[in-house]
Symmetry: C2
Subunit: 299 residues, 2 copies
């Protein structure tokens, strides 16, 4: 079944200890869409400016991603410049130009109102709510957020959380939101805010999934080459929700496998800059790495 | 089969955000012995001063630990004072008094020369070598070390590494020893220095095991209560080598299970100050948590 994603689409300048790229295609909706497209059809809702180079979308079109929900507005495309030190877990934002994203007011195509699988990528929680209002009867709503919204739009964020089935967060964001160092305690608090499942992403240390009754720990894949962590969380979300939409099964066993598919996609994402690696990935490679995850965790 | 451990025995003052203890029994050989004693007989080689309160040893005696190899020397017992912030991964040493440990010259009982399972806990690598020289034909030698020896006794440490089957290390120590942030690269380097297996302990993020041909990732147990991380690494080593000595099997499957038993013992160790939790632990609790590790990792 198809997935609706709403999130940012932008042009990124990225510097890591391993290289530097400029004006590369980026944004949460982009990384998510590449990743999810290996599992399910994807419909993107987002906004770009008049300066957006249309050919950037060709690889997504080739993957069958539906971009009819991407609005072109007068003005410039969202831009993000960031850098990473050797501790690749922490992005340092050098500049954010919201541009057309500032006045983004998502208005869904009629047919998208029937979406059953929804990913609210990391954007203003008020926009996340706007989107949710327009969707009639979703099966699964997954949301992401970031420290900026925790600090500046906590009320709206709390409303969004009430409407999520699954929250994805970084470890540092979970700690900040819940005012505790313990991820277990943070997860327990989040489960009282709305989501029935919370997944805490720990970068090179893997991911943890919590529900009221269970806990699952997925390791990270031990990579030889990490070039750029940008979009790792969104590609994780893409593999995760992609697998759920593909199987239409929400059993705990499937959710666990979805976490591993998320980890697989994130591990590929970080091997090259921006979405470059995902652009040339194959289903065979995804299956192969999933099996490697099995091999490194069995005892 | 019995295990020989050589390491420190001391009196610790420990302060964590959750409390404070003084003159508590500590040292690498102690945490290891408590932990390993649930799996195999343990023979301890170490040194104490005349001020050591003999009753401290009673709980170890009750667990059948053989303390004939603990020498009492003129002078004071080794003392360590340390504190931890909320980031419990990093110990801050406030004071180290080597005392009798400074002139420790381990001289094994004749019968210990036949030891088949040996743990060289974190002490001067020259002493580790001294002990190894006296052991005739061990099956498995496991070693630990720390940043101090990497910085001050690198040559001796390199000689010790040549003689180890399995090296246990913290992530930060592995990075420092190998001059790389990548744990995968660090592991690959270490495997060329002598050990055929390296286990990198990542505190709250679990442990990674590497050999030339395989890799295993064990998560950490999600604890409700962490009071004192002192000795976590040594209790990990105790569960790990304890399981190997108990099964006398060195297959990869057994080594993986040993890593999980190590994680189980470390997770209990940190629940209370010093070795307090291990003093009252039961085999049933160990089995129970091992099963929980299975449950949180299966997909």
């Amino acid at each position: 079944m198809s997935i609706l994603v709403v999130g940012s689409i932008g042009l990124d300048n990225i510097k890591t200890p391993f290289g530097k790229v400029e004006n590369i295609l980026g944004g949460s909706a982009i990384h998510f869409s590449y990743s999810a497209s290996f599992f399910s059809p994807v419909n993107v809702v987002g906004v770009i400016g008049e300066d957006f180079p249309d050919e950037h979308f060709n690889p997504l079109r080739e993957r069958g991603v539906d971009l009819r929900g991407v609005e072109t507005k007068k003005g410039k495309t969202f831009r993000w410049s960031g850098s990473y030190d050797y501790d690749l877990n922490q992005a340092h934002t050098l500049e954010t130009q919201l541009n057309v994203l500032e006045e983004f007011n998502p208005n869904l195509l009629n047919e998208y109102e029937e979406s059953k699988f929804v990913f609210l990528a990391n954007i203003d929680p008020e926009l996340q709510l706007e989107v949710l209002k327009q969707i009639k009867d979703p099966y699964i709503v997954v949301g992401d957020t970031m420290n900026f919204w925790i600090e500046h739009k906590k009320d709206a964020l709390m409303k969004t959380l009430k409407n999520l089935d699954i929250l994805l967060m970084n470890d540092s964001e979970a700690r900040e939101l819940c005012g505790t160092h313990s991820l277990l305690e943070a997860a327990q608090k989040i489960l009282r805010l709305g989501p029935s499942t919370v997944i805490i992403k720990k970068g090179e240390h893997g991911a943890l999934m919590f529900t009221d009754s269970t806990h699952f720990a997925a390791p990270a894949y031990p990579l030889e080459e990490i070039n750029d962590p940008t979009g790792a969380g969104d590609s994780f979300a893409g593999g995760f929700l992609g697998h759920l939409a593909q199987t239409k099964d929400f059993s705990e066993a499937t959710i666990r496998r979805a976490v591993v598919f998320g980890s697989v996609m994130a591990s590929y994402n970080v091997e090259d800059f921006g979405p470059k690696k995902l652009q040339k990935l194959t289903t065979q490679e995804i299956e192969k790495r999933y099996k490697e995850f099995e091999a490194i965790t069995r005892f």
